[in-house]
């Protein structure tokens, strides 16, 4: 091979070397006389010496293939329930370096930031493909708000880069510490679902790596079935390497927020109806420990982006100030402290509505200001139960669920109620659909907690609703099949090497 020859891969998996070699260690197979002296590292030279002078071809072996190692304590889900006894992890750091599938003998599952509550991001007995190393931006078109980035980039990083240039993520969940891959795989929603729909509505395309080694660019136009399966696909259709997102224009990083206190559930429906017409973001916090005439009392939050520039001196960035450094003892969290918390929060609101300017972080991510807040639930962890019920029967179903929760007295700090809009979610298994969605947190107290959730499932199934897999650790296979009737269709697009603890639980699959 003449000096200066462009390098390239030959079809037999060998690589020819020219003025540079792609990263990797190389086993020398044959040797060229006039070539290696100035361009090969010493170690190769030594290896090559003594070989018949003929032609050079070096077989590429990955330099330091990333090892599969036991997964450390970081690889848990946000609810800390269930715990995984054994799973391994393989870091994915480069888009160009694919995992060596032949060395992986167990099922694999992508892992983003572990902000899912239950077991949908866990793979007991298998291997996690940690995509958090895929954290690079690819391109950003400032004029049209089109951002391409790797799948491990977090929403926090995106906002930090795009907000100063006047673009915001069109869908923002309750924490900024989730990855783009995770946001797509759960087709997440935000407080503006009634306007913007789910996250997947704004994905222009994504690059998917299948265990066959194939890389596919999927979009609503090309490989559209695989795109629909991957959005909301719970990480089971392959590893998302990158995605291209359509962002939304925004004038400032501030919101004008109004809080309205309401005394019972019916008032919520009225305020919500009226607010969804005028406000970009709407959500309500509910005191789920209050029963009887106070059932469903709470505080409604609604907000719009401030479009013009704002006076100097207004803080636009929140910081992570607090942290829960260790697991809190369970005694701190009982029905009396929770009742006190909820009552104070409700009572602490003004009875009249007030508008105020709020930095976006404080509005969207109030919980992010206390890092590891999930530890307040102590070692046993907690469950979140989030359901959606269709508009027609929704009001009664929500009332029924709140009644059952208040009766059981097991609710806790956070109950969130919101009206989803009509915009269809693009994923086969997407959770968001028109209706009312309610999210409840329960400290995990074993069987009674599970029994209460089963009880609520009966109401949701009856109403024709669904429970959110991203938050689930316990729904039964029967209920899953009812909530997600498109599951059979989905199975056709699953990658055969991919599986999760969640998937095995809700489908009864063995691997």
């Amino acid at each position: 091979m003449p000096p200066g020859h462009r390098p390239g891969y030959d079809p037999f998996g060998a690589v020819t070397v020219g003025t540079y070699a792609p990263s990797g260690t190389y086993r020398c197979v044959r040797f060229a006389t006039n070539f290696w002296d100035s361009t090969l590292p010493g170690s190769w030279r030594r290896e090559i010496e003594g070989m018949p002078a003929h032609s050079l071809s070096l077989v590429r072996e990955d330099a330091t293939p990333m090892p599969v190692v036991p997964a450390g304590p970081r690889y848990q889900s946000w609810g800390r329930y269930p715990r995984v006894a054994r799973q391994d992890v393989l870091q994915i750091v480069w888009r160009c370096d694919v995992p060596r599938w032949d060395t992986l003998d167990r099922s694999v599952l992508p892992f983003g930031q572990g902000r899912s509550y239950g077991d949908s991001c866990l793979n007991e007995g298998g291997v996690l493909l940690d995509a958090s190393g895929l954290r690079r931006f690819i391109s950003f078109d400032h004029d049209h708000g089109i951002l391409a980035c790797e799948a491990g980039v977090t929403l926090a990083e995106i906002l930090a880069v795009t907000l100063p240039r006047g673009w915001i993520l069109p869908v923002i969940p309750g924490t900024k510490f989730v990855s783009v891959g995770g946001a797509i795989a759960n087709d997440i929603h935000g407080k503006n679902h009634h306007r913007a729909g789910s996250f997947g509505c704004h994905v222009r395309n994504l690059e998917l790596l299948r265990s066959s080694g194939e890389r596919m660019t999927c979009s609503p136009e090309s490989h559209s079935d695989l795109f629909a399966a991957t959005v909301g696909g719970l990480g089971l259709t392959g590893l998302i390497l990158s995605a291209e997102l359509q962002l939304a224009r925004v004038g400032t990083a501030l919101l004008e927020v109004e809080r309205i206190r309401f005394g019972q559930l019916n008032e919520f429906f009225e305020i919500s109806e009226e607010s969804d017409a005028t406000c970009e973001h709407t959500v309500a916090w509910i005191d789920c420990l209050a029963g009887g005439r106070k059932l469903g009392r709470g505080v409604f939050h609604r907000a719009n982006h401030v479009q013009q520039t704002v006076p100097a001196g207004v803080r636009t960035r929140g910081t992570v100030a607090l942290s829960v450094p260790f697991y809190a003892p369970r005694v701190l969290l009982n029905r009396y402290t929770m009742k006190a918390f909820n009552t104070c929060y409700y009572g602490g609101q003004f009875t009249t509505t007030r508008k105020r300017l709020t930095p976006y972080e404080r509005f969207f991510f109030p919980l992010d200001s206390v890092r590891n807040w999930n530890r307040v639930y102590g070692r046993p962890g907690f469950l979140q139960y989030q359901c959606v019920v269709p508009p027609r029967v929704g009001r009664d179903a929500i009332r029924e669920i709140l009644e059952r929760t208040a009766r059981a007295g097991r609710g806790s700090f956070l109950a969130v109620l919101k009206q989803f809009g009509q915009r269809a979610s693009p994923g086969l298994l997407s959770f968001p659909r028109p209706g009312l969605t309610l999210a409840l947190d329960f400290p995990f107290q074993g069987r009674p907690t599970l029994a209460l959730c089963d009880d609520l499932d009966a109401v949701v199934a009856q109403a024709g609703g669904a429970v959110y897999p991203a938050k689930d650790a316990r729904m039964s296979p029967e209920h899953f099949a009812r909530y997600y009737p498109t599951c059979d269709d989905f199975l056709k697009h699953m990658d055969p090497r991919f599986s999760s603890s969640f998937w095995r639980r809700v489908t009864g699959a063995t691997d």
């Binding site: 540079y20 990263s23 030594r46 870091q91």
Partner: protein, 245 residues
Amino acid sequence: MENVLIVGATSAIAQETAKCFARSGAALFLVGRSPDKLQAVADDLSVRGASKVGSLAVDLTQTTRHPEILQGARAFLGRIDGVLIAHGTLPAQERAERDREYAADALEVNLVSPVSILTVLSSYFYEQGTGCIAVITSVAGDRGRRSNYVYGAAKGGLARFLEGLRARLAPAGVRVLTVKPGLVDTPMTAHLPKNLLFASAERVGKRIHRAMLRGQAVVYIPWYWRWIMLVLRSIPEPFFRRLPL
């Protein structure tokens, strides 16, 4: 620092330092061995705010090509204000004990190659009379330990070289920074079980950026390694030898 050259730019730590420079709008020239990885890093830095990003793919053990690095960087950046040299490998100690060539290779990547690059760069900087050269060594170079002495020898040798280079370039107004990270959670240490001593690449990268701007001479990252190593260095060898390190 407006124009920065980064050698070993695909290293996890180097990427984090480069992001800090990019955020302040610097122009960057990246050198590494994999064109695909360099492209991915270059794109990322452009989005994060770098005014321009160029790159050169070269295996850094090919010392004969080192002059190209300087030529490439000067052609792209004009003046070079700062350099970070970050490439390296962590050899498996066990293999290095029995495989002569493997041990020699470890020194080639971790010692010979940075020394060669620095030799090319130092005369340029000497003439320029300003700038900062930062090189990543390691706390492992502070003491020879049974568990990691081949790597330690390379990093220790490099630290000595930098000490001398600093003395030579200081009168000319050029600063030389020796960076000594402790354990960092990067692909290099992916095979090691993690404990509380591991710092994130992000933390280390940011600290390097700050040290380069401040013109420090030697930094331990995180800071507590300075004290840990002070203690370890003060233990006489007959005792040190017996420690399970």
